[in-house]
């Protein structure tokens, strides 16, 4: 029942009965004799008022008509679930957007309830597979016919703050469908329908970024949509920059409007918990607006941008970031002279650059980062991370060959996140390497690996096989970006790409090589030890929105640093236009059957008309 208030029309039923009882006032009709009628009445009990009502077909037709009308007003729906296969797959979206409250109490709870109802309505021998689709899809249960356990597991699902990995989920579902194509898939979600009917009648994947050759074959897929297009606004970006030679900070926040209507939003910026400034900004439907906040005091350690306009999802209405202290990092550049590197390093804030020649590379110590350009000491320094350009042969990794006049491409590595794809440049010559077991490729050409990174014992090492002077990399627009990221990746205690940490992301934490133990404390207070063992690669536990604390224990002290994890709204809500129109189509189709129910209003309406026609016929024929 979508509108249970419609059942109030049933109050008319007793009214009709009362009217008919009142109507029972008989008119006198003189006949020759009542003798035969008395005999006739002996056979049937027709004297009591109720018995008379019982025989009144008109009244019953009217009561039926009223009941049908009440049902119509109540917008009834019948479960259409029909499991012929005996195998059911439940895919439940538990991402951030499922916390939206446009469906009460929220989308996730509604989906959970419907999923449990569906399980309960299945046969006892039905085999269930339960997949929870969050930042990564997880198979919680596989091929079990224990309904109680399935319901228990559904009740145990916690909705997360992360974005949904719809691509991974589709791949997982597809792989399971390939094993058993008769499984009936029930997808409970709020985003784009990953399955929609194509013109050929097959079910194809229409999700953004998903290979079009991925198909759900067969017609046994139900998509239960929980989305009423409520108004949602979000702070999708908050970043800052300390102005040179100034004690001021400039912040940038991006305000997105994910609703279908333009909106005028009140946005506030808080510095260390105090209101600093407030703006009113107009954001068109489906668009975003940037707000620059200037003259923020340089001593500020924490920024938070907040939308004060209410919407269906509160969690993405604010974003925060930590402004790290001006701890100066010492970087040693060992080179015969590299103007490109020197220039780039000088642009990176809080970096103090030291230069040295190849002849002074004995007993190197006391730097946070060592950059060796065309040389390498016999003994690697023991207290900092290392970047190597065009290194000589050594015992730490092996040369695979050389390449000349070559086109070098960047690999898919998180170092290049948010940069354009297929970054490449030309090199006059470069070394090629066998990728060590501890390494991850950073650059490659057609013949092999050109650059890689990894942990060598406790220290991070990044190796580039070319001399910058023999490439056109320094003149590329992305050169300073890449080099800044490379340096930030290695500077201890600083989060890499701190402005872009979202719930569910894998976070690269640059751990101080001297740290003995490393912990991460989540916003809910849970403390997770992430090291030892060393090296620490990426942290995958940032699934909550809020402030995390990175705690590093050294021999004599414990250092805590905070970092913000923000809502992954852009990934969760933003969709290409084509997908939006597809979603609208889906919503139109499923407007009244979004819970996987069959809308029975049309059959009821036909039945009502039939009843009215029968009543008219009965009345006109005096039956």
């Amino acid at each position: 029942m979508h509108s249970p208030w419609g059942l109030a029309a049933l109050l008319a039923v007793p009214l009709i009965i009362i009217l008919y009882l009142l109507k029972q006032k008989h008119e006198d009709y003189i006949i020759s004799s009542v003798y035969l009628w008395q005999n006739a009445l002996q056979d049937i009990e027709a004297n009591a008022p109720w018995q008379k009502l019982k025989k009144n077909i008109l009244m019953f037709l009217q009561i039926i008509a009223i009941i049908l009308l009440a049902l119509l007003l109540a917008e009834p729906a019948i479960k259409t679930y029909n499991n012929n296969s005996g195998a059911v797959m439940l895919v439940i979206d538990c991402s951030l957007s499922m916390q939206s409250t446009d469906i009460k109490p929220n989308r996730f709870e509604a989906a959970r309830k419907d999923a449990i109802n569906l399980v309960e309505s299945c046969n006892s021998d039905t085999k269930f597979t339960l997949i929870v689709s969050g930042s990564t899809p997880q198979i919680v249960l596989s091929q079990t016919n224990d309904k109680d356990r399935v319901i228990q597991e559904i009740q145990n699902i916690n909705v997360s703050d992360t974005a949904q990995d719809i691509e991974g989920t589709v791949e997982l579902v597809n792989s399971l469908l390939r094993e058993n194509s008769s499984i009936q898939v029930n997808w409970f979600g709020d985003g784009v329908n990953p399955v929609s009917l194509s013109s050929s009648g097959n079910i194809s994947n229409n999700s953004p970024g998903i290979d079009s050759n991925q198909h759900f074959s067969g017609d046994n897929i139900n998509y239960h949509l929980y989305n009423r297009n409520g108004e949602n606004y979000a702070v999708t970006l908050l970043s800052h920059r300390k102005l040179q030679n100034s004690q001021e900070i400039m912040a940038l926040s991006r305000i997105a409007n994910f609703s279908l209507k333009d909106a005028e939003l009140d946005v506030s910026l808080y510095t260390d918990g105090e209101l600093f400034d407030a703006r009113r900004v107009k954001v068109e439907a489906g668009k975003s607006e940037n707000i620059y906040w200037k003259n923020i005091p340089g001593i500020t350690s924490r920024l938070e941008c907040r939308i004060d306009t209410e919407d269906i999802l509160d969690k993405d209405n604010s974003a925060g970031l930590m402004v790290y202290s001006n701890k100066v990092r010492k970087v040693l550049l060992a080179s015969v002279g590299n103007i490109f590197l020197e220039k780039v390093l000088s642009l990176i804030p809080d970096v103090e650059l030291y230069r040295t020649g190849a002849e002074d590379m004995h007993e190197l110590k006391g730097y946070d980062l060592y950059i060796f350009d065309g040389n390498l000491p016999e003994q690697l320094p023991g207290d900092g991370h290392i970047i190597l350009f065009n290194p000589p042969q050594n015992k730490h990794f092996s040369l695979a060959g050389k390449s000349e006049y070559t086109d070098i491409r960047c690999t898919k590595h998180r170092l290049y996140n948010n940069l354009e794809e297929n970054i490449s440049f030309d090199a006059l010559k470069t070394d090629l390497y066998h990728l060590p077991q501890w390494g991850n490729a950073l650059m490659e050409n057609d013949e092999g690996i050109v650059a890689f990174e990894g942990y060598l014992d406790k220290y991070r090492l990044i190796v580039f096989g070319f001399d910058l002077h023999e490439t056109n990399l320094p003149v590329q627009p992305f050169f300073p970006v890449i080099m800044t990221r490379v340096v930030q990746e290695l500077l201890p205690g600083v989060l890499n790409d701190i402005s872009a940490v979202y719930a569910g992301d894998l976070i690269s934490l640059s751990i101080d090589p001297e740290a003995r133990e490393v912990f991460v404390i989540a916003p809910d207070g849970n403390k997770t030890q992430i090291a030892p063992p060393f090296p620490v690669d990426v942290f995958d536990g940032a699934t909550q929105i809020g402030t995390y604390i990175l705690e590093q224990k050294f021999e004599n002290e414990t250092v805590q640093q905070s970092f913000y994890v923000n809502a992954p709204s852009e990934k969760e809500f933003a969709m290409p236009e084509s997908i939006k129109s597809l979603q609208q189509d889906i919503e139109k189709v499923q407007e009244h059957k979004q819970f996987g129910f069959w809308d029975v209003r049309i059959p009821l309406l036909i039945l009502l008309l039939a009843i009215l026609m029968i009543e008219w016929w009965v009345y006109s024929n005096g039956i």
């Binding site: 109507k23 029972q24 008989h26 008119e27 006198d28 009709y29 003189i30 006949i31 020759s32 004799s33 009542v34 003798y35 035969l36 009628w37 008395q38 005999n39 006739a40 009445l41 056979d43 049937i44 027709a46 004297n47 008379k52 025989k55 009144n56 077909i57 005096g622 039956i623």
Partner: protein, 286 residues
């Protein structure tokens, strides 16, 4: 001539006299003439003399010709007293066509046929007693007396057939009694017929009902009021009730028919929308 018995009606019943006749003992082709042969002016047949026959009936001319004794047989002529009891209670003044018209026309037609056959005809209008009557009329010339009586009846009282018949001093000997009524009087028909059979009557029970009594056409909830007793019955007409009524009517008629068969009476069932010729024909066929 009044509307009830117009010239067309008279024409009809005159034609009926040629084909329709009553017989006293009810045999098939009897008509008014008795099968018992006796002394009469109308010659019937010859048969050989057997000892014990009246010598006076020997046809001596035949003996001269055939040298055998033959006895002349003659039709014995009897006056058949015909009693027509017409129910004129209130219940008979109902229906469309009205039962009072159909019943009086039937009575008049039967009376006319009997008069035409030189029977002695008595027409008795009864309700809870004898309301009006004319008795022992012979010859068509007295038909107007009968129509006078029939035209001047009042349908007001309750019917009591047995009481009324018993109060009529019936002529002794064989005769014909016709009772025309709807028989809603709730009397025991068995007693009535038994009484008439005891009086050596050939009995014709003409049960006349209106079409509305045979197939009620009410379609509302009504309070039915009995025209004679003013008793009331509240009903809501439904198909099942009508079905039950139909069964009650059939049971009523079959009960009467069984009673008639038991005493050798004839049960004739009429609807007031039937033509009088049809009704007379049915009577005559019995």
């Amino acid at each position: 001539m009044s509307r009830l018995f117009d010239s067309r009606f008279l024409q009809t019943i005159q034609q009926l006299t040629l084909s329709a006749r009553f017989s006293i003992d009810g045999s098939t082709a009897g008509n008014r003439k008795s099968r018992s042969k006796g002394s009469s002016v109308e010659f019937s047949d010859y048969r050989e003399y057997i000892p014990g026959d009246d010598f006076r009936r020997i046809d001596w001319n035949a003996y001269g010709r055939f040298e055998k004794l033959f006895v002349k047989l003659f039709m014995e002529e009897r006056e058949a007293p015909v009693h027509i009891f017409l129910d004129v209670s209130k219940s008979m003044d109902w229906g469309e066509p009205n039962k009072s018209i159909a019943s009086r026309r039937l009575a008049a037609a039967l009376a006319y046929i009997s008069l035409a056959n030189f029977d002695r005809v008595s027409v008795v209008c009864i309700d809870d007693g004898i309301q009006n009557m004319c008795r022992n009329l012979r010859g068509k010339n007295f038909f107007h007396k009968i129509t006078d009586v029939l035209e001047n009846v009042h349908y007001t009282g309750r019917s009591s057939i047995q009481k009324s018949i018993e109060s009529f001093s019936m002529q002794m000997g064989r005769g014909i009694t016709v009772i025309i009524s709807d028989f809603f009087s709730r009397e025991n028909l068995n007693d009535i017929i038994k009484y008439l059979a005891y009086n050596k009557q050939s009995i014709y029970i003409c049960h006349i009902l209106s079409p509305q009594e045979i197939r009620p056409n009410m379609n509302e909830s009504v309070r039915l009021v009995d025209s004679e007793t003013m008793e009331t019955v509240e009903i809501t007409v439904t198909p099942s009730l009508l079905n039950s009524y139909s069964k009650a009517l059939e049971s009523f008629k079959s009960q009467m028919e069984r009673t008639c068969m038991k005493w050798g009476a004839y049960y004739l069932n009429f609807s007031s929308d039937m033509d009088v010729a049809e009704m007379v024909k049915e009577v005559a066929e019995h």
